[in-house]
Amino acid sequence: MTRELPSLLKRAATPLDQPRAIGGAFVSSKCGAAGSAIDGLRQSGALKLLFPRSRRAVEAVLINTAGGITGGDRFDIQAHAGAGSQLTLTTQAAERAYGAQIGQTGKIRARLRADKDSTLRWLPQETILYQDAALCRRLRADLAPSARFLMVEPVLFGRRAMGEDPTRLQFIDRIDVRRDGKPLYRDGTNLIGNAATLLDRPAIGGGARAMASLLWCAPEAGGKLDVVRNIIGKSGGASMLCADVMVARLLAEDGFMLRRSLLPLLDLLTETSLPQSWRL
């Protein structure tokens, strides 16, 4: 039996027609008698969530079943820490942004919310940008005045140990964190063009191929500034945007060197509850 196909589907395939991966995930946590518990959960397409047993927080591990992200892919993640609860999100492994067809961009959107007295941790593992990757990420977080928030975003520009050095890249990243509706932290990255050449420039990367941005909102953040600076060492910096908001930026020659300071740093800031997937 034949069915009339829309004309769009009848045309010959072109190289632009890569298979598209679309994925969505939503998770929320609530505060119950025995600690934090999952409140709401939805997953669709190429995004799955796993919940390993954890002590105090709900720990959600994102899995991209498409195995990576390329031009035209779209991933939407929403996470909501309900009042008084603790929610941690991470990824099962590094996210890989592969080469995209010309004009096609992969999109990742994350929408986070932390209610009164909650703790929300956004701790994805590294995003690896391969040659010709075109990736556009957007993260928006809305925090209640009493919420705690920890965010890290590590990015690797190729895998140096594998001899990769991306000379064509389009990486666009936007982060907008608001507290009580007002802008608290805003960051934007445009790394477009010959990433290797750009990152070799002293004002940009000074030869680094790995970078991480970190944001930590907690009343005790100010008291930890010296410890954080000691862990980060010379290749990065940390600073207080205001009394309870710490920002840090790290540069390293590759992913291995980045982890050497990032792991102890995250251990400190998560009170040694860094998700296990970070150590596999």
């Binding site: 666009i172 990243d173 936007r174 964190v177 007002k182 802008p183 608290l184 932290y185 805003r186 960051d187 934007g188 990255t189 445009n190 790394l191 750009l198 420039r201 002293p202 004002a203 940009i204 990367g205 000074g206 680094a208 970078m211 600076r229 010379k234 290749s235 990065g236 910096g237 940390a238 600073s239 207080m240 945007l241 920002v247 840090a248 930026r249 540069l251």
Partner: protein, 227 residues
């Protein structure tokens, strides 16, 4: 510019006598915003020896212009210039949130407040305490100064201030410093022009190392500059 000149019993109002001179005054090193006290993290990289001559300084400045805070300041200035009065607070809050570290915030907040105080006192405007590029944008709008020139001269003043910091710290010869500034002119013009077509959504940088330099300046042992 609207100047009210008291001449005996009559009051004469001169409209737009000279926008260019007003901008020159606002953005001259003599205007009391204390620009000489801010090195934008430059003092740190001069201390570590990363910037040691005109060549290494030029690379650094070019990246701040093309990919960093100079471009972002133009975007903020433009947004403030074009904004309706009720949008200004949000733009100012974005400018603060976008400051990548404590000293960057001090730099923009303190210079902006000093700038607005002086302009409001002399020109009778009502700019109020805003981040530096936002304050300049609002003041220029209030005085009906042209946006393209405001953006250009602001960016030029930004670079000139860093050059003068380097002349003192590296140290660099005066002629070398001014040569470098003259060489930057086409880029200053291009950045001011491109920034004016961008939106707040386009606020972005890839000058990770300059952010880190500003953060590390906070703990630098001996320093002359506030940032």
């Amino acid at each position: 510019m609207t100047t009210v000149i008291h001449m005996g019993p009559t009051v004469r109002t001169c409209m737009n006598t000279d926008a260019f001179l007003t901008l020159t005054q606002w953005l001259s090193p003599g205007f009391p915003v204390g620009a000489f006290a801010y090195s934008h993290g430059l003092e740190h990289v001069i201390d570590t020896g990363e910037i040691r001559d005109a060549r290494t300084l030029k690379t650094w400045l070019e990246d701040i212009l093309r990919h960093g805070s100079a471009r972002n300041d133009v975007i903020l200035l433009t947004a403030a210039y074009n904004a309706a009065p009720q949008q200004v607070d949000e733009i100012d809050a974005i400018a603060r949130a976008f400051a990548s570290s404590h000293e960057r915030q001090v730099e923009t907040v303190d210079q902006g407040a000093a700038f607005a105080r002086t302009v409001d006192a002399i020109w009778g405007t009502d700019v109020g305490a805003l981040c530096y590029p936002v304050a300049v944008g609002r003041a220029a709008r209030a005085e009906a100064l042209p946006l393209p020139q405001t953006a250009e001269i602001y960016t030029h003043a930004f670079v000139a201030n860093l050059v003068s910091a380097a002349v003192r710290l590296v140290p660099l010869g005066q002629t070398e410093g001014q040569t470098l500034l003259a060489q930057c002119a086409p880029l200053i013009r291009a950045v001011a022009e491109l920034g004016r077509t961008a939106q707040l959504e386009d606020l972005a940088s890839c000058c990770f190392a300059t952010d880190i330099a500003a953060m590390r300046h906070e703990t630098q042992y001996a320093k002359v500059f506030r940032t």
